[in-house]
Symmetry: C2
């Protein structure tokens, strides 16, 4: 009978806009994949019911016997207690405060569940599924609306004492610098996230700098980070300055990661890497300029290759790993 002997793991990646799910076999092949809207404004109970339905649909679609599902790994955006399986607070999901998600989901589905920070899950997904399979140490920086990330050392995800490791976007790169909603000043995220790049260009124009983007800053057509990147490439001075500074701050963060962890690989992920060489080139050049010269212990700085599926893949892989550690 089909699927009788197949063992598979589910990965769920909860985002503010979409919830993605996938079924992976033991060779990390996607047997099924689905995405639904989060509808975060409907509150926890509604989102939870949609996640449960998604899990059932995925199992049906993959054609796997329920007994063949080893576990469900769930990536959640926000601080959590990994061991207790409790989501402390997901800022982009209405009503997600102190939710014992692991227990709730296990009870409702009858499946073993594991929850992870979504950025950590994405980093682990890129680690196990990306072309970086040969590395044992890797740090990922996910450059999106904000900057998240994950640290993998010796093939294992680093969670830290409070399950908050990998918050690389809040490394301080400019003491006393730009204010961040987190309460700090000078966070990497305030210079090198897609949002920050857009905001800084707008600030520059409003402060009187000339730029080909001024009509968009003052007009009705929205200004995007891609616009800033393109203008920088075309020699617009304001855009160039903002873009170069973002790359320089990223490079400084990479230097600090080099010295603290000495990883062989730093991966840049998230929407910003669509800029391709326009991002990687300046980051690598600034890294070479900023880093020390006494020892060539430099990490490779590479773009992520998995894209949007890294989160669900990593959540599934981490769930499988958790099972293996329990000896299941």
């Amino acid at each position: 009978m089909p699927g009788m002997s197949v063992r598979a793991t589910l990965g769920i990646d909860i985002g503010g806009t979409n919830i993605k799910g996938g079924v992976l076999d033991e060779q990390d092949r996607l047997l099924a994949r689905r995405a639904i809207e989060t509808r975060a404004e409907e509150g926890f109970e509604a989102s939870f019911a949609r996640i449960v339905a998604l899990i059932e649909e995925l199992i049906a679609e993959a054609g796997i016997a329920r007994s063949g599902i080893t576990a469900v790994g769930v990536g959640v955006p926000g601080p959590m207690d990994h061991a207790a399986g409790v989501v402390r607070h997901a800022p982009n999901l209405d009503g997600w405060v102190d939710i014992p998600l692991r227990t709730l989901l296990s009870e409702r589905t009858g499946l073993t569940c594991v929850i992870e920070n979504d950025a950590n899950a994405a980093a682990f997904g890129e680690f196990v599924g990306g072309t970086q399979r040969t590395a044992t140490d890797m740090v990922m920086l996910t450059l999106g609306t904000g900057i998240g990330g994950g640290v993998i050392l010796g093939g294992r995800l680093v969670r830290g004492r409070f399950d908050n490791a990998g918050e690389v976007g809040h490394m301080i790169v400019a003491i006393g610098g730009r204010a961040c909603p987190c309460g700090q000043r000078g966070c990497l995220e305030r210079y090198a996230s897609a949002n920050a790049i857009r905001e800084r260009l707008i600030e520059a124009v409003r402060a009187g700098e000339t730029s080909v983007l001024a009509p968009q800053v003052y007009g009705s057509e929205p200004l995007t980070t891609e616009d800033v990147c393109r203008a920088a490439q075309e020699g617009d001075q304001a855009a160039e300055r903002v873009w170069e500074e973002a790359c320089r701050m990223l490079a400084a963060a990479c230097v600090n990661l080099q010295h603290v962890l000495n990883p062989g690989l730093i991966v840049l992920a998230g929407g910003l890497i669509n800029a391709g060489e326009a991002l990687l080139g300046p980051v690598r050049r600034a890294f070479t300029e900023l880093t020390w010269k006494i020892c060539e212990d430099y990490p490779r700085i590479e773009p992520a290759v998995l894209g949007g599926d890294a989160g669900l893949l990593g959540a599934a892989a981490l769930a499988r790993e958790a099972l293996a550690q329990r000896g299941a």
Copy 2:
């Protein structure tokens, strides 16, 4: 017969001035301890012969049968290839370039040898032997002439891809800041090491700032870091500014370590911690000011407790660990 059934491990800590050695039993008790001069200027062969003699003296002094010595762990100041057992370059030891120390020492003594970076060994020593035994994750910053350190996660020393992890003194805390002999600018070490604090006070006075320390800057009596600390405590403005900035840079580095690794414990070690509360107070206050407010995932910031024996203790503990991993 005495010592027949006792098993012990040797730890050797090679410094630019002294070489310290100790014999530890399986409960980490020091059975013997000795320190000799390094005489680095005499070159590698001479230093090596002195280390071999030190090992023999320690074994004799501890009264342990040679067959009871499980291994020798050696901490060396400088980059190395841990797996190959080769010291690449120890800048403070004349002629120590590409030395296959592990093999040489094993051949000469007939004992199993393991080499480690000295700062990493000291961090591991503080981890296993300090009062922090309950922590599983710890980062140590050793504030001496320069700033070194070590990272322990899940009870294991992090070495990194090139055995250079824990170089926390070269985290960039001020992009484009003070030049460092390593080739970078704005390294933590250029603001918060004992040397940097002294140098910065001298620079301030030479630049025209008034200070009670001016006579020492211009006179024959040497200015020490302790003098700067004392003057800062007594309200000297130049000294206060230099001291506070050192503490602030240290705090910023601690914030970055918090976000990348989320350790439960950050330990400050080295000569500078003799300042006691004059150091810890401002570092902790600046940390509280600089760090985020959205999640109280703060590490404890504590002084080291082992002092000068941390290096030999850690070298011995790491050698024992290496044996255990080989199943010996």
